[in-house]
């Protein structure tokens, strides 16, 4: 019966009066007030960014002038020098070890947090809210601030850095861990429940094996980020290459400072390559037999065969009804590969802990110092500064972030689109754009900023440029990836109608990718606000400068006040971003 008397699904709209004109009969397009508000807010943010960019004083003449500065600077520096080889190796190992320990600490803490925060595993709404709160809060407090506090509490050593990285990284790692849990296939888990398994067993046997590859990828990704960030931690007293570099620049030993910056840069690139290799090996899904691990295994197998060791063939064992024989798992390629990776990972972790030379005792004695130090941080105050100066500095930081995001956005839409397979006119363009993005991502923006600031002394201008440059690497890749993920159907349909390449892009690709575009841009703005704070610490202007001063001058009440300002700003941006993502769904 409902087939015949089907009513149009518009219960809230008044029934249209019969009218001859189609234009009159067509339903009005209705835009919800919330959407209008979001569009206005977005417009306001764009206008603010344009103003900030105009204010930042970035212009072609000033760039040319700073080029002259750079030439004079390099003439004065002469040759780049490095610390002694032994020292350099130790510092490098220490930096990597410290960062790895911090990231691993965060990963371990993130497991229960993610379990609480994921909608399909959380024991209740309250727990879920708590999990989400922890991820937002830890992400909002910059690791530099944590490091400053921890440096006060611990006698020197690696613990402040490890804890700062460890706590700050929980935010991102736990969030991505939870996302991975929410994407699992529920089947295996249900099967274990049906067999009478406990909640913990459901997790370890049904969920963990499914999310492990993605978790490892997340941890590696975060580790790359932390390695870049470790330079700044050196400026507030965390041991490693960053600290040496800050000492060198402070004592005007530019040639060594630049040398360490170069080492750091190389380290970041190497780490990025290593982690992408490991990621690929883990995410490959069913083994292809073509990965790096397999190649290593084959080589080792060949060597083993030469030594006369008996090697089991790669394929499955012969059909056998002898269960005891079947109990011995054959050493096939997969097992060898897993074992090799496992022990390698174990060795790296143990090595990291050893090189950090952690003063475990501090973890116990530190509790005694907490109350004494805590009182110094409370209540917050602006101390000798007046409120106008501080809010002005905060505004400058926000301005740097906005201007950098805008610059990065404009370039990224262009580069990112051309790097997408379905937009690029040909393979060569796509490949070269992808390559460009990889190279840009390889350059740590903090180091770029430090070097730019040291060379040109341009303050916030150098900071904005460095942030924008780094932003292109991130946003360009995200845009390219999300354009490649749009449904191919609409593009095909438009091409079939004879639309040009540009028309297909504008009418099929872009509309489908808009939501991701907005989401990713806000993500960049979010990270840029934090990064802009940090830039201040290395001399790039804004609130970070005052934060460092307050920390070094032991004005902890001022530190608290500044941290609260940063926290509020970050939370507001995060809130706006979440709202935008929801409205433009």
């Amino acid at each position: 019966m409902s087939l015949i008397t089907a009513t149009p699904p518009a219960p809230s709209a008044p029934p249209p009066a019969p009218s001859p004109s189609i234009a009159d009969r067509a339903p009005r397009r209705r835009v919800s007030p919330e959407r209008i508000a979001a569009i206005l807010a977005l417009g306001a943010i764009v206008v603010a960014s344009v103003i900030a960019l105009a204010d930042s004083g970035i212009s072609i003449p000033s760039m040319i002038e700073s080029w002259g500065n750079a030439e004079r600077f390099f003439a004065r520096v002469g040759t780049i020098t490095f610390p002694e080889p032994g020292e350099l190796v130790y510092l490098t190992a220490l930096t990597i070890g410290l960062v790895l320990c911090g990231t691993l600490l965060a990963a371990v803490i993130s497991v229960p947090i993610a379990y609480l925060a994921a909608s399909n595993t959380t024991p209740g709404r309250g727990w879920q809210a708590f999990g989400r709160f922890v991820t937002v809060l830890t992400r909002a407090i910059p690791d530099v601030v944590l490091a400053m506090v921890f440096v006060l509490m611990f006698s020197l050593g690696s613990l402040p850095g490890i804890l700062a990285i460890g706590i700050h990284s929980i935010g991102m790692i736990a969030k991505l861990f939870a996302d991975a849990i929410e994407q699992i296939d529920e089947g295996p888990r249900r099967a274990i429940r049906a067999a009478g398994g406990s909640k913990l067993q459901e997790f370890t046997s049904g969920i963990l094996p499914q999310v492990l590859p993605s978790w490892v990828a997340t941890v590696l990704h975060r580790n790359d980020i932390n390695l870049r960030g470790s330079v700044v931690l050196g400026y507030v007293g965390v041991v490693g290459l960053g600290m040496e570099m800050s000492f060198a620049f402070k004592s005007l030993n530019y040639s060594e400072g630049l040398g360490i910056a170069l080492v750091m840069f190389a380290l970041c690139v190497v780490m990025e390559i290593v982690s992408s290799v490991v990621r690929q090996a883990m995410l490959g899904g069913a083994p292809t037999g073509r990965g790096l691990g397999d190649r290593v295994v084959r080589l080792a197998g060949r060597a083993g065969a030469k030594r006369g060791v008996e090697t089991t063939p790669v394929a499955r064992p012969a059909v056998s009804h002898d269960l005891d024989a079947a109990l011995r798992r054959p050493w096939d390629a997969v097992r060898i590969r897993n074992t090799v990776w496992g022990w390698l990972a174990f060795a790296v972790v143990v090595g990291s802990v050893l090189v950090c030379n952690i003063q475990w005792g501090d973890l116990i004695t530190f509790w005694a110092k907490v109350p004494e130090i805590a009182v110094q941080f409370w209540p917050p105050s602006f101390g000798n500064y007046d409120a106008a100066t501080m809010f002005g500095a905060m505004a400058q930081t926000i301005g740097i972030a906005l201007a950098a995001t805008l610059l990065a956005f404009v370039v990224s839409v262009f580069v990112g689109s051309l790097a997408a397979r379905n937009v690029a006119p040909n393979g060569t363009v796509r490949t070269s754009m992808r390559l460009l993005l990889v190279v840009i991502r390889g350059i740590p923006e903090v180091i770029l900023a430090i070097v730019l600031i040291v060379i040109t002394g341009l303050g916030s201008q150098a900071g904005t440029l460095a942030l924008a440059f780094g932003g292109i690497g991130l946003l360009g890749k995200l845009i390219a990836d999300s354009f490649e993920e749009v449904k191919p159907g609409p593009e095909r349909a438009l091409r079939a109608t004879g639309a040009s390449r540009g028309q297909v892009y504008a009418s099929a690709t872009l509309p489908q990718g808009t939501r991701a575009l907005i989401g990713h841009s806000f993500y960049l703005l979010d990270t840029n606000i934090r990064a802009a704070t940090i830039l201040g610490i290395v001399g790039g202007g804004g609130i970070g400068y005052y934060l460092l001063n307050a920390g070094q001058g032991s004005n902890y009440a001022v530190v608290t006040a500044i941290v609260l300002m940063i926290l509020v700003t970050v939370l507001i941006v995060e809130g706006i971003a979440m709202w935008m993502r929801r409205v433009f769904k």
């Binding site: 296939d185 249900r190 049906a194 067999a195 094996p209």
Partner: protein, 289 residues
């Protein structure tokens, strides 16, 4: 109560007046079903008639809106925590989508069937006792997949994966085997193989089986008893012997009183026809290749 206890030996499943509502959807409406030990029962019914929901209630994966579900002498909805898990461990459950963990080896997947008798989490083959590993290998041998023990589960074909899932259920040393459309995602040949394997094992071990199926032909040749569900009600409950396909179809048709139901049945029938066509196609392909 006392009569129930007296029956416990012969009656292993006793569902009465079971109603389940999901919001406004009524999935089960006063369904009743009694199964004796060793019986092999097939649930038939249109899509959405409540077969899966009924099976899930038997295993305590769903809580009834009203009615009683007694399995192995215990009122399932009243159980929680360890006692519920203990009861679940006495029932094997085989799902349509196999539900193996793709990245684990076949052997470890089978071993997860024994988790309820182990305390605490297990990660990796080494964490299971040797005794259980031998048992698991034995079950893999039983389903003809011993040589695949150390392969990743997602490298197997659908039919093989379902046989691994059966081995996993056997790990529980179950008294009852529940199966929800175990062959719905398999080709006819694998279906045949999997279904006869289930029957064979059930006969050997004296298992009670409740299995939902879509294929009427298969149900008639395979089950001891046919239970028909429609809109969450039990509308048919007879021995399979002597029942013809036409009779089952006729029962589907006769109980359909409203137009929408008839439409639904027509859709179902044309689906079945399409399936049959697809099957012939497959068979043709197999012949040609």
């Amino acid at each position: 109560m006392s009569t129930q206890v007296g029956n416990e030996d012969s009656v292993v499943i006793d569902v009465s007046g079971l109603t389940k509502e999901f919001g406004r959807t009524v999935a089960l409406q006063g369904a009743s079903l009694t199964v004796a030990r060793g019986e092999i029962v097939v649930l038939l019914g249109l899509s959405g008639s409540g077969k899966s929901t009924l099976l899930r209630h038997l295993d305590g994966l769903e809580t009834p809106t009203s009615g009683s579900v007694r399995v192995l002498g215990q009122e399932v909805p009243r159980l929680t925590g360890r006692r519920l898990r203990a009861l679940r461990s006495r029932m094997g459950f085989v799902f349509q989508q196999f539900d193996l963990v793709p990245s684990l080896t076949v052997l470890e997947n089978v071993l997860t069937g024994a988790l309820s008798e182990l305390r605490g989490p297990r990660i990796g083959l080494w964490s299971y006792p040797k005794r259980l590993k031998l048992t698991a290998l034995g079950h893999l041998d039983r389903v003809g997949l011993l040589d695949r023990a150390y392969q990743r589960a997602d490298t197997l074909s659908g039919g093989q994966q379902q046989r691994v899932a059966i081995a996993r259920a056997l790990m529980q040393d179950p008294e009852i085997l529940l199966a929800d459309e175990p062959v719905a995602s398999l080709d006819p040949e694998s279906s045949e193989q999997v279904m006869s394997l289930i029957r064979e094992i059930a006969m050997d071990e004296g298992l009670t089986v409740v299995c939902s199926l879509h294929q009427v032909d298969l149900a008639l040749s395979w089950g001891d008893r046919i239970v028909g569900l429609r809109h969450g009600e039990v509308v048919l409950d007879t021995p399979a012997e002597g029942l013809s396909k036409a009779e089952v179809m006729e029962i589907y048709g006769r109980v359909a009183t409203s137009t929408t139901e008839l439409e639904a049945i027509e859709v179902e029938l044309s689906d079945a026809a399409a399936d049959a066509a697809a099957e012939t196609h497959l068979a043709d392909g197999a012949l040609r290749s």
